[in-house]
């Protein structure tokens, strides 16, 4: 499984950049405003600050408060007091007639509303600026008129009105100012001349960008603002950030704007929808905050609240998604969050009590819809502009998250103990269900000839799922599995080894399961077909020949699988007792030498006795005249000599020693051949860990090819002991397999 590594993460560069930009914007604004008084040779006044509010009025609320506080310190009067004194009190005496005064009043009310100091500030600002409707010939009035009305639309959650106000602002303020601004800039009059409101254009670009990008999200505008995508694209085209002397690039929203345009055109767009993209980017930001809190504090109240915020943000983005492309991008992220939550539960040992309403079942349904379009129609799912590569990447990306979310949840349940400190059957069932759902889906969607449907890592995932099911079944009922359950575990282990045969420990687990069903003698019959696939794989052969990733490790396994004796070791050797095995091997070697020596001594003694007996017979023949001619008709039998009895005993000893020596030779040779091969496969457990955490590990591609090489030939569980040589049986007995 691609275990989710949870660690504190900072916001994305774009969001971090925007936040920094906001602060810088505020600072820049403050700096810009600071010398107003000096420039005019007067004390700083609220009139000056309000006349230049286009510089800072779009800063976010926190920064705006900071700015206003600084201005209040410089002026020596709170803005609220100034407003009350200069406008409200005066207006009570006599209506404000001046266009300038009315504009300043409207701006002050907008600022006080945005800083939270005047609850009805927006209504007041709207009423005040509406009073200037007969003076909208002036760009500055028009700018504030549409800005205030856009803020009002945001506050009311009226997306359509917000769109209208921004488009009107662009058409009636920005557009007429653009050409003169360029001319003034050519003449260097934007800095030095009396260019009036024209020279504010860079600030207006910045403010419009912030209204669309930031304010619409901070106000959680839940309507369609897609027509504004044109303005966003135009702002990104050498407008925002294009005048660094006026608005430093660092203080502008250029980075975020560029990021957003890239996302609009990118593979995880929703057919270019601005509403969707803004909502998704906002949700990603909330997700990052939640992830950091989870990693730092576990399931603290703050972290849980952050997760809920993030989930709500993804749900909001989901409401905007009108293409499968958009929905897939959201699910890919939401399932990642689910992974993180379960990983935290497993890590902390605490129960997962938060509901994330993005289900794995729905994720698989989305994947199925993508998969169904691979032969045609994928363009209609939203990938028309980005092309087939984007479609394939999205399909594989979603699968990877389904895989991670499934396995992290399963791991959580298998690690989750009840009050008695045990893993109850209900948790095991949950775990098995997660693994089964994955494996079932995998087997539905694998086997695609183009290799596009699933990521390479899905095949390792199939191994993990099958193994997880097998383990779960064996753990069921506190380890007291029924014969049917054990048979199921055996079948799942075989399936797992078919997808990933390089898990040495799993071979031993398979042997244990076979033992529990009284079929330990079947081990080789079960193991050989699986091992044979590795031995005869052309892909693996080329992989090793080309010395690709992990080639030495894979080669050691292939050598071991080619040898039935070492295969027996896979099943029955206890790797923790390799030292004892080697000691036993040394003892056998010594005993073998002793026996050989005994045989030699016995043979020597026998030969000596034979010689003695032959001499004795010869002497006896001479004495009896046996050798004289003609031979006497009868030679009295001399009877059996002592040597004969001794020779007979020695012969029996030699026979016994010979048999024993043969048996030892067989064991010696078996161990001598198999043990080093088996030992060469030890110590490579790191490969499993690497594959579990690296989706792009090169060995994933090999596993896929191995599986495809024998597509559809995942072996059925063997049930009958077919062959098991005496040597192997002895070896199996010797290394204690039957007693495990």
């Amino acid at each position: 499984m691609m275990q989710t590594r949870l660690r504190p993460q900072r916001s994305t560069p774009q969001w971090t950049g925007l936040r920094l930009a906001l602060l810088a914007f505020a600072t820049t604004a403050a700096t810009a405003l600071a010398p107003f008084g000096d420039a005019f040779g007067e004390e700083p006044s609220w009139d000056d600050y309000l006349d230049h509010a286009y510089v800072y009025s779009a800063a976010d609320t926190v920064d705006l408060r900071t700015l206003i506080e600084r201005a209040e310190q410089a002026v020596g009067t709170r803005l609220a007091d100034y407003h009350a004194e200069a406008f409200s009190a005066r207006a009570a005496r006599a209506p404000l007639k001046s266009e300038l005064e009315n504009r300043r009043k409207a701006i002050a009310e907008l600022l006080l509303y945005r800083t939270g100091e005047l609850a009805n500030g927006l209504e007041l600002a709207t009423a005040t600026i509406d009073g200037l409707e007969d003076r909208l010939d002036r760009h500055e009035n028009r700018y504030w008129y549409h800005t205030i009305h856009a803020q009002r639309a945001l506050a009311a959650g009226d997306a359509s009105a917000f769109v209208d106000q921004i488009l009107a602002l662009w058409l009636s303020v920005i557009t007429p100012l653009e050409v003169p601004f360029e001319t003034y800039r050519t003449l260097a009059l934007t800095e030095n001349g009396n260019a009036g409101f024209v020279r504010t254009l860079p600030h207006l670009y910045e403010s419009v960008a912030r209204l669309i990008l930031v304010h619409s999200q901070s106000e959680a505008l839940d309507g369609d603002i897609d027509p504004l995508v044109a303005i966003v694209r135009v702002l990104a085209d050498e407008r925002v950030g294009a005048d660094p002397e006026t608005v430093p690039v660092d203080a502008s929203s250029k980075d975020f704007l560029d990021h957003l345009v890239t996302r609009l055109d990118g593979p995880e767009s929703d057919g270019g929808s601005l509403s969707y993209t803004l909502a998704l980017v906002s949700a990603e930001r909330a997700h990052q905050i939640a992830r950091a809190k989870l990693a730092k504090d576990g399931f603290s109240n703050e972290a849980l609240a952050a997760i809920r915020d993030s989930v709500a943000a993804y749900q909001r983005a989901m409401r905007f998604a009108s293409t499968l492309q958009g929905q897939v991008a959201i699910y890919t992220r939401a399932l990642r969050q689910q992974s993180e939550v379960f990983a935290t539960g497993e890590r902390s040992g605490r129960a997962v009590e938060i509901d994330i309403p993005f289900s794995l079942d729905r994720g698989i349904e989305l994947y199925e819809a993508l998969h169904a379009a691979r032969a045609g129609g994928w363009e209609r799912l939203g990938y028309l502009d980005q092309g087939r590569d984007a479609y394939v990447a999205a399909m594989q990306g979603l699968w990877a998250e389904i895989q991670d979310a499934s396995f992290n949840a399963a791991r959580y349940y298998t690690a989750h103990e009840n009050e008695a400190g045990q893993i109850d059957d209900e948790s095991i069932v949950h775990a098995i269900n997660h693994y089964s759902r994955y494996l079932h889906a995998f087997e539905r969607f694998s086997g695609d000839a183009t290799g596009e449907s699933l990521p390479d890592s899905a095949y390792f995932g199939a191994y993990q799922a099958a193994r997880g099911i097998g383990d779960g079944v064996l753990f069921f009922s506190a380890g007291d599995a029924s014969p049917e359950q054990v048979a199921e575990a055996i079948a799942q282990y075989q399936r797992a080894l078919a997808y990933f045969p390089f898990d040495r420990a799993l071979w031993g687990t398979l042997a244990v399961a076979l033992q529990r069903s009284g079929r330990e003698a079947d081990f080789l019959a079960v193991a050989q077909p699986l091992a044979g696939r590795v031995v005869h794989s052309r892909h693996l052969d080329r992989w090793i020949a080309n010395r690709l990733a992990q080639a030495p490790v894979l080669e050691s396994f292939r050598r071991a699988f080619a040898n039935d004796r070492s295969l027996v070791y896979f099943g029955f050797a206890d790797e923790t007792k390799i030292g004892a095995l080697e000691a036993e091997f040394a003892r056998i070697a010594k005993e073998r030498e002793t026996i050989a020596r005994s045989i030699a001594e016995n043979r020597s003694e026998r030969d000596s006795l034979n010689e003695k007996r032959r001499i004795a017979h010869r002497l006896a023949a001479e004495v009896s005249g046996e050798n004289a001619q003609p031979a006497p008709p009868v030679v009295a039998a001399a009877g059996r000599t002592a040597e004969s009895y001794e020779i007979e005993r020695i012969a029996r000893d030699l026979d016994r020693l010979g048999l024993r020596g043969d048996r030892l030779d067989a064991r010696f040779e078996a161990i001598e051949e198999a043990l080093p091969i088996f030992k060469a496969t030890l110590g490579h457990e790191g490969l499993i860990r690497e594959l579990a955490v690296q989706r792009d590990h090169p060995v994933h591609a090999l596993l896929r090819r191995l599986a495809e090489e024998v597509a559809g030939s995942v072996p059925a569980p063997a049930t009958v002991s077919e062959k098991s040589t005496t040597t192997e049986q002895e070896l199996q007995a010797m290394i204690g397999g039957r007693n495990r």
Binding site: L136, D137, V163, E178, V179, T183, N194, G196, A230
Partner: protein, 204 residues
């Protein structure tokens, strides 16, 4: 009330446009360079409303300044017209995506923006007498017409599409081998560009 609907009533710029016509007439060079004419429309009139005096009135050696600026001004116009073409491409992309999502309300809303935008920003350029244009600006003007044509197609305005194509063929009859950037910054001859526009809009 949609502020775009009410723009004509709320803005006096159109009226100012007329009022400022004599000023534009005085600026012969600026009339030839329509972007700077827009300056008079946009800024001159704006500045006349309570702003300090318009900057042109404050230059005694205006002609000398203008002649010195010719090179820069021309470069600025090229830059400005190219950016305008890219803006129109963004508008077209927006309309296309709104249509793909079936957002007819969004299309209607955006149309209320696009049509006056074209009228104030594009038509003022392309409708001007060609003799007022620097020869180097002709391809830019043709590109704007091509962009307008495809945008009108997105707005489902077949009449405007035909008028634009007619205009292209009439105004640039002797310049069909001129290279223009259409539709996505790729250099083609104007003849090829018009043929492509016809295919795209179905006006074959």
């Amino acid at each position: 009330m949609n502020p775009l609907n009410s723009l004509d009533q709320t803005s006096n710029d159109q009226g100012n446009l007329k009022a400022c016509a004599p000023a534009r007439a005085r600026l012969a060079w600026l009339q030839a360079v329509l972007l700077l004419a827009s300056l008079t429309i946009g800024a001159g009139c704006t500045l006349s409303k309570g702003e300090p005096s318009a900057y042109f009135d404050r230059f005694s050696g205006r002609e000398a300044v203008e002649s010195q600026l010719t090179g820069e001004a021309l470069a600025q116009q090229k830059y400005s017209m190219r950016r305008l073409r890219r803006d129109l491409a963004s508008f077209r992309q927006t309309l296309e995506q709104l249509r793909r999502h079936g957002k007819s309300e969004g299309i209607d809303r955006f149309e209320l923006f696009v049509r006056p935008y074209l009228a104030t920003r594009v038509d003022t350029l392309v409708d001007a007498d060609d003799s007022h244009f620097h020869p180097e600006l002709r391809p830019f003007r043709a590109e704007l017409l091509l962009s307008k044509g495809i945008l009108m197609h997105e707005l489902d305005d077949r009449r405007a599409v035909r008028q634009t194509i007619d205009r292209l063929e009439r105004d640039f009859a002797s310049l069909t081998s001129m290279l223009v950037l259409y539709p996505t910054g790729e250099a083609v001859t104007l003849e090829q560009g018009i043929a492509l526009l016809r295919r795209q809009t179905g006006e074959i």
